[in-house]
Symmetry: C2
DNA sequence: AAAATACCTTACGTATAGGTTAGTTTCAAC
DNA sequence: GTTGAAACTAACCTATACGTAAGGTATTTT
């Protein structure tokens, strides 16, 4: 079965296109907890799924700390009810942040453009 | 004359609303080079003007390194010709970065919104 | 058996922009 | 002549997300 497939760090590194170092780093921060066969980390499909979540969330701008919080909640409530609500809140908050950031960027863009004009005028003299 | 006014670190700290530490930090990075009266840093109006430039540029998203580069050019060419051109390029580049950033944010916003919808649907069941 | 590969560890480095702590010098006032 | 404020200094701390160096162990291939 697919669900029985096991993975090592280098395998996942290649498959998910992240460095081995990053994977071990996520473990060191408690974001994944693969089994060990001696020293070697052995990831099952759930561990792999967690990695995928991590990568997705990172792309969306969440910090590892935030992601860990979310995953920890997931551990407490595998039925996914609590943390779905929680995720909604986190997402809403992130959206708010992003809209805010956009406003700021727009403001800076305006400033820079006017600054650019001023300098351009100066250069003409 | 106004141009003869001299300032100490604590004075400028209050006037410009930045910490004393920050001002000394800028000096340590070579962004300003105030005179000394013994140990005490003495800023003249030009030094003060440099601080203002630093603060302005920081608000517009330039790194201290970038700002130093610009100010160093200014030192070489006080006539302002070279570094105005240079500033124009830097500003254009920054504008480009910002537009880029905006696109990315918009993309992430879309993703987050659809993710939000998915979760909301899941919660209804 | 030796070499090559895979995997691991600890520990320090990188970048950014200072904050914090603690202790020191300087100088004027009493 | 000592106290106290004002200014200074050095050095360590913060947060974020790993990269890198240097070396150890274990397994696989030849």
């Amino acid at each position: 079965m697919l669900k029985d497939t096991l993975y090592t760090v280098p395998q996942l590194s290649k498959e998910l296109d992240i460095t081995e170092r990053a994977i071990r780093f996520y473990e060191s921060k408690g974001l994944v907890k693969p089994n060990r066969a001696g020293n070697t980390r052995i990831f099952n499909y759930k561990d792999r799924a967690r990695l995928l979540i991590i990568l997705r969330a990172k792309k969306l701008g969440f910090s590892l700390k935030d992601i860990k919080t979310y995953l920890d909640l997931y551990e407490v409530d595998p039925s996914q009810k609590i943390q779905s609500k929680n995720a909604l809140e986190a997402i809403s908050y992130r959206l708010f942040q992003l809209e805010d950031q956009k406003k700021e960027i727009n403001f800076i863009i305006k400033e820079l453009k006017s600054l650019k004009n001023d300098i351009a005028k100066t250069l003409k003299h």
